[in-house]
Symmetry: C2
Subunit: 308 residues, 2 copies
């Protein structure tokens, strides 16, 4: 019986085509994002917001939110405003991260960074506006979800983005710059907050919208934290092994900045193994969902396999 | 009867002591703000947030929110998380506004600006964290208010802060810099968005929390837009007439930057008259609330009388 079950799951996994799934979902997200910010007076700020928000990217965060909402019994309609908000927040963090006072990056997703096109002042404001709009968008656009659940989504997302999450991770990252004795605990803190917290929010907010149980939320939180850390390890590996063309951003920056990374501590091969182990453990959290977990399992595996 | 009513109102106005009221309410806000952000690891970001949030100031925004909530039938407890959030957002806008890429100010409220103490990178992140925390704080801390009303508060506040509000005003302000032919319409747009929108949100959000009627919300919105514009006119006047010591920030900046201001268009005396007229019209919106409007009337008059 167990063997038959396993076989059926393997079959269904074969049937599930991740690349078609991702392509369709990405298209859905692009359309929703395109519609989310109309251009009105004063046009410059809306254009600056749209420049970075609509600059492509894999849209993994909104896709994760939609996938989790569906897996736990909700639907796309419920989750699409939160999915868009997650991408707005991710984009805002990239715009501010690229500023001269921060990482001072000229390219992002193969295009000039926001401040290179619009100036630093507008880029700071475009980030502020995207961050604000994300919360406004969830509060005003979410349909067919009880208001108290929407408030829980806003609370969870706020925690993932602010000083207790993404911003806290960036602060420790800045403090660690140029230091050669960064511990693995500090490195984990940085990435658990800078990268994993927002990915966790994508997944957990999708499940909150679908009114998932607290057991579900805990499972999904562990899944997301694992893929978040794996995502960062792979990012560090790609910074060493990929070309600028593949990345769409400056390659080899970590080495140039003498930054402590997972490969610099563990080496490339061990880093790859650790990432795979994290992904495997992430997928084990999803066993009880059966075939419905195919998208989340596929995305987890995609993270270690990606080339950019 | 009308005469007697007027007399009673004048008496009660005499009895209402604005300076005691503002002092007590400021104390209340200081205590709530002090408690709102505990310092945990990574300490630097919380310290940077607290440095600017707890740097004094008149706390007019949170006081307006509390006063309006009470006037329209709510209580302080309902409104205190939103009141704190409004001050967090105001503080965040000052931190980002003072950055070298924006106004490049070294002093604010008589203290070094955030980036002068913590560096530009931390100041950008402290602003982001305060903005995020404001929405999280409203969503997680508001008690005894129906969830759908809390969502309306978040929506209204988001609109007041983002591209359709404060940020939009800042963008037009930046575009107008160095131009000598800025029209009165553009100047009004800037200040209706850069200053009045957040003051309007203070008042309207306080009323939403108290479940005020849409007629009340419209009246209060007009009151707040008027005092917001008056506030800016008085700010422009003070930039010319007050000393740096009185202002706690660099004085005479507008003239040095050849900035078009209300006094530069209307002259000082006409500007004073216009501010007074706006305040008078603002107070007329409050007639139906009787004595309960004393705090809002007092604050409106305080705006034109203030020296810093």
């Amino acid at each position: 019986m167990v063997a038959a079950d396993n076989l059926r799951r393997i079959d269904s996994k074969t049937e599930f085509d991740l690349s078609i799934y991702l392509k369709q979902r990405k298209q859905l997200c692009e359309e929703a994002l395109e519609k989310s910010i109309p251009v009105v007076y004063p046009e410059k700020i809306y254009e600056a917001m749209r420049y970075s928000l609509l600059a492509g990217g894999k849209r993994l965060r909104p896709i994760l939110c939609l996938a989790t909402c569906e897996m736990t019994g909700g639907n796309i309609e419920m989750a699409i405003p939160t999915a868009c908000a997650l991408e707005m927040i991710h984009t805002m963090s990239l715009i501010h991260d690229d500023l001269p006072a921060m990482d001072n990056d000229d390219y992002r997703r193969g295009k000039l960074t926001n401040h290179k096109v619009y100036g630093e002042d507008v880029a700071i404001l475009a980030g502020d506006a995207l961050l604000t709009y994300a919360f406004e968008y969830i509060a005003s656009q979410t349909k067919n979800v009880a208001a108290d659940r929407v408030l829980r989504v806003i609370t969870h997302l706020g925690r993932a983005v602010g000083a207790a999450g993404l911003v806290g991770g960036q602060i420790v990252d800045l403090e660690s710059e140029g230091k050669l004795d960064v511990s693995i605990d500090t490195l984990n803190f940085i990435h658990n907050h800078k990268t994993a917290a927002l990915l966790e929010a994508c997944v957990v907010c999708g499940a909150i919208l679908a009114d998932a149980s607290s057991v579900d939320l805990q499972r999904l939180s562990r899944y997301a934290q694992n893929i978040g850390l794996a995502f960062q390890i792979v990012d560090d590996i790609l910074d060493i092994t990929a070309t600028q063309e593949e990345l769409g951003k400056t390659a080899g920056k970590d080495i140039a900045a003498q930054k402590v990374t997972y490969p610099s501590i563990w080496g490339l091969e061990e880093s790859r193994l650790k990432a795979q182990k994290l992904i495997q453990e992430a997928c084990e959290e999803l066993e009880s969902y059966g075939e419905k977990a195919n998208p989340l399992i596929g995305i987890a595996n995609y993270i270690t396999a990606r080339k950019h």
